[in-house]
Amino acid sequence: MELTIEVVVFAVFAIITLAGALGVVLARNLFRAALLLLVSLFGVAGLFVLLAAPFLAAVQVLLYMGGIAILIIFGVMLTRGMVQARQVMNSQWDLAAVIALVTFVILMIVIVQVAQGEGAPLPSLPRGDVAADSIAQLGAALVDPAQYVLPFEVASVLLAGALIGAVYIAREDEAE
């Protein structure tokens, strides 16, 4: 595999993603952790662009960085007594590290096995191009009764429930 511009760009975004993620997990200051989460999410958006899914990349920025991250920062501020913790990790962090490592190794073994497997090896080139009107196709697929209309409506019920439930939980109890 030669070192093309694409691979370099991929490496940059992969490093941004993983470094940001490590920062999230290790940062002492919770606000900084939230900002590093943004960095990591941005890296993932870059990967989406490389994967020819610009719509998802934009949604990643709009929804994850502009929405969920803001929500998390608000949450951090509301529990601000906990922003700067003396002790970041719990008592079983060493065990957790081992488990995470084992997870990674197992996943890697699976990837390597499949990549070299005889049945259906992982392709190094995409099978065909993404259609030029992929966004419109996506929109059509989401409301197509043969495809995703049921999960689509369920998603709206889930969102509606989550909204009411979360607001109910988060509001100060009027009785007290």
């Binding site: 929804l63 929405g67 608000f74 409301v143």
Partner: protein, 119 residues
Amino acid sequence: MNLNEWAFVGIFLAIAGILPAVPILLGWLLGPRKPNPIKTDTYECGIETVGDTWVQFKVQYYIFALVFVIFDVEMLFLFPWAVAYQRLDLFAFVAMTIFILLLTIDLFILWRKGALEWT
């Protein structure tokens, strides 16, 4: 998909970061630098700072962020639907109407329950 147009965005990203950083850096280099304890103190209309910076915030901020995020997801579904709308049939319209109406009703419930009040 043309990766060249995204290369443009990538370079733009770098330039957009550099453009504001340079004046700030220049200002920092060219301007005087004479900090003293009073100057670098937290500004509070000339009064000495009272208490911690981290005052408790109203939970209402969080509730508005919450409502916003849910509607943001709605937008995520609306965009591809809007792009494809001309070629879709009536069923697609009904499906999206149900989707939007559910969230609108949600908004009205929150309104009735007073969750949208800024008090």
